[in-house]
Amino acid sequence: MLIRVTSEQLHPQEAIDAVRQNEAGAIDVFLGIVRNSNKGRAVNHLVYEAYPSMAEKTMLELAEEAVERFDLTGSAVLHRTGRLEIGETSLLVAVSAGHRAATFEAGHWLVNEIKRRVPVWKKEVWADGEEWIEGPESLGIERAPASIQDS
């Protein structure tokens, strides 16, 4: 299981190679990318901060839970930190399974859970200011701390 929080660029091929198995007929890979705008505001770049040791621990727990839930043959989660320019990859998730449906479902579930639970924060920097984007705003939903605190 490939799990990493890093300030280095993320390479999809590395995650794909980590989950490729002879029993796997399907691999799904997700890349979170820095967009050039958010809520109509032009973004210059992003800065990601992490609680690295807990982030890696949480990513590993979620990757293992995904393998259990969706009967995967492999999973990998990598998150980048530091300054990221437009178009760069902030999050890289790869899963493999015997068949395709499990990979799409597991990939989507895993990305949702990572965004809910992994202690990483994103700061948007515009031409004329900056702001930490936190929780509900980034999720587009009401905050649900009860379920987050379940663990």
Binding site: Y51, K115, W121, K122, W132, R143
Partner: protein, 81 residues
């Protein structure tokens, strides 16, 4: 006999500190440590409605015990991905 406290993101900016060491008090919980911190750093108060907590890298409730030599992280709503 200390507690290490970690601040992140907007909360670290508001407090101006990323990490501090606090004396441990017998019977400490997440809430009791948080309340002592608010006395020193009142700007934490506005964060508490949405704050999450981790004790030694596990999410914790307000009444989770905080033994000595523990790391308590104050976690604003996360926004990774």
């Amino acid at each position: 006999m200390a507690i290490t406290v970690l601040f992140f993101a907007s909360l670290a900016d508001a407090v101006g500190i990323r990490e501090l060491s606090l004396s441990h008090v017998s019977g400490d919980t997440v809430a009791s440590v948080r309340n002592r911190l608010v006395e020193t750093y009142p700007q934490i108060a506005e964060f508490t409605p949405t704050l999450l907590y981790a004790v030694n890298e596990d999410y914790a409730d307000e009444d989770t015990p905080v033994p000595a030599d523990t790391t308590l992280a104050l976690i604003p709503p996360v926004s990774g991905g």
